[in-house]
């Protein structure tokens, strides 16, 4: 048995293991499509049998992988599932069960309340701790999440836009630059996180070596709360810029050159061309890109976990990392019911943001009005 290294035997074994599954999926989809077409054309007798048939797999996938987990998550929020009650919810556990019911509004009220408050003997005695330190409360983590998200999105957008403008010019070796800029996107997040963690090492890392070579003082990047937040934000900015650059560049290249030529004839300067032609025409791209980036960044915990582990003193944790900790953290309290309620609150925050942002910016108006 070969465990270290990817040998031919390992690859063959893997193919042997996943091969039947792939064949099953392909054959299954073909049979399903055939059955659905027969159903729509013979039983329902609709003239749209083919489109419905082609849409069906995507709809089924949405139900299985999005709707069902969402419903299950809401159900979990109405449960008291945690390690100490595991025996009640697991069909195979031999542990006892002391709960008189498995799901209920009483559990939901407690789960949602616990996200915000610390309750003892039925009375609220303060903000609840979402992690272990005294300031790991909901307002503190929410503010940090907002700071993390806005800083990242502002830098993603401005650097991405700047690079896209540069790449949209006639410059030499443009393809090479573009490939170099997109590299962070191609590297797996785990490697990015672990590599940057080493680079931010106070004594042996590249960042401090550069700072000292330039005459500065070394910084305790991973020991100082403020420096750690800067470090982890920097890594995520580095990682997120290519997304914007690619999106903006695509948008810029779709703007007809006639507009700029007409503006030049009218005597417009580069600033006016950018503000009055490029930005308005990029709006249908900018608004969804910013919306997605806000949601992704707000929910992004892998870089935080890998670079700082949430530390020092839990100071780089945001709401989602606290949520992850409640369900899967090292304390092993496995508070799945509480974590489900917590995730619904985060979902609502992002949902409200997305609605307000999209409606107020009018970014999708053109798409709807087509």
């Amino acid at each position: 048995m070969e465990l270290s290294g990817l040998s031919g035997e390992v690859i063959l074994n893997t193919l042997r293991q996943i091969g039947p599954l792939i064949i099953f999926v392909i054959v299954g989809v073909v049979l399903l499509e055939f059955g659905l077409y027969l159903f729509f054309s013979r039983v329902v007798k609709t003239k749209h049998a083919l489109p419905y048939t082609l849409l069906a797999p995507a709809l089924i996938a949405l139900i299985l992988f999005m709707i069902y987990p969402l419903v299950f998550n809401v159900l979990l929020a109405f449960s008291d599932l945690k390690r100490s009650t595991f025996g009640c919810y697991s069909p195979i556990s031999t542990g006892g069960c002391e709960l008189d019911h498995l799901y209920g509004f009483d559990y939901a009220i407690k789960n949602f309340t616990d996200v915000f408050f610390r309750i003892r003997n039925g009375e609220i005695i303060g903000w609840g701790r979402l992690l272990r330190t005294a300031d790991s409360t909901f307002p503190v983590l929410l503010l940090r999440s907002i700071l993390w998200t806005t800083t990242n999105v502002i830098f993603h957008f401005s650097i991405g836009m700047g690079l896209a403008l540069l790449m949209n010019q006639k410059i030499r070796f443009k393809g090479l630059y573009r490939a170099l800029i997109v590299i962070p996107w191609a590297i797996p997040g785990v490697i990015v996180g672990l590599t940057w963690r080493q680079e931010f090492h106070a004594q042996y890392g590249f960042v401090n070596a550069l700072i000292t070579a330039l005459g500065g003082q070394p910084v305790s990047w991973l020991d100082d709360p403020a420096a750690a937040f800067v470090a982890v934000t920097f890594v995520n900015i580095w990682l997120g810029v290519p997304f914007y650059m690619v999106m903006m560049l695509g948008g810029m290249q779709s703007i007809p050159a006639d507009y700029y030529e007409a503006a030049e004839i009218d005597g417009a300067n580069p600033r006016q061309k950018f503000l009055d032609i490029t930005m308005p025409l990029l709006k249908p791209i900018i608004i969804p890109a910013v919306t997605l980036d806000v949601i992704w960044t707000f929910n992004k915990l892998d870089i935080i976990v890998l670079v700082t582990g949430g530390g020092p003193q839990e100071s780089t944790n945001i709401l989602v990392s606290a949520l992850y900790n409640a369900a899967f953290g090292t304390a092993a309290t496995s508070q799945f019911g509480f974590a489900a309620a917590f995730s619904i609150i985060i979902f609502l925050i992002l949902f409200v943001f997305a609605i307000v942002w999209i409606v107020s910016s009018g970014g999708l108006k053109e798409i709807y009005e087509r």
Partner: protein, 412 residues
Amino acid sequence: MNRGKSLAFLLVFAIVLGSLGVASAQSPMAAVKLVIWSQDGDDNNVVLAKQFEVWAEKMAPGSTLEVVQKETEVLRTDLLAAGLAGSGLPDLVLGPNDAIGVFEDAGLLQPLDELFDIAKYPYNIGAAQIGGQTFGVPTNAGNHLMLMYNKSLIKEAPATWADLYAAAKAVTEADPKIQGFAYNLNEPFWFLPFVHGFGGSVYDADGNMTLNSEAWVNAYQFVYDLKFTEKVVPEECDYNCANDLFKEGSVAMIINGDWAIGEYLDTEKSPALGKDNLGLAPWPALPSGERPKPFTAGKFISIPVTTKDAQLEAAVSFVTWLTTDVDAVKAFALGTGRLPAIAEVTVDPATDPILSASNEALATGVGMPADPTLRCMWDSVRPNLEGVMSGTVKPADAAEEAQIAAEDCLDQ
């Protein structure tokens, strides 16, 4: 004549019956496919897989063992997820004893008292016992932290911390590129031995968690002084930092566990070490004369509740052989640089000075309970230890805050 025939018949019957008995005792079991989730390192898992092949050849030809390596926390979350789904659990689980407490609490492990001869494991079986029942059998004893040093840089292990400071500073003075001493500064598992050395513990006599005693404050102060007063450790250092520096010869002394010995003896992976340069010793003594006391336990194999019938029979047979057969124990425990958990296998200082030194360090430790609440302690101490080691939290405040956090965790 009739009597003679009867006697002859009885004799033949007895011989046939006896031979059937012998045959059944030696007949191999039906081939099975077992799956083990292992928290052990890749190198050790290779040895485990090879040992299974040895066992299968004798006991169940054609059997296979799929070893799935899982990091500590992944092992825990995956087992709980499978338990919740009601399927997908492995046949065996190999991991540290503190995971056993979590799995037992969730009702996912079988009690092993009826399946194994528990008396065979005299040293550390207690670390896998909860409520009078046994939920794991040890593959080795240990999992303990000790002082490890590079003999080409440090001739003799320091006996006290004062000696260690002097030796560490001397090494760096001789070559500024070499760090004298390093360890996983912010990890509570490396910090707890100091607490024990100052006379503290995690639980009081009544079983209540006590993280705010004088011993805890003294221990925080001691590690603070290591960094800020004596300045013998790097500004920042986690496990990988200490481990990598030690392997390449850039640090003279570290604190690490017995699980790393196998890797340090391999000069391909640890070019600066190998059996000639690796030295092991108990923790140096504190000013009081007491040594810091590491937690000790070992690695244990547990059997989930879903392992039944032929799978269970094969699993029990394999684990019994792996953990009690003298040759198998030598191969899997000693062969991976760890200490045996059975009395029949001993370590000879003359032929194996490395393991003998590890054994000496093991004797200075304290048993690690399998109680799942121990995890609240690790989780609560970590941010406060980080605060002390960054110089932003005072030792007394760290101890007080850790106690509050632990109580909060225990309520969840």
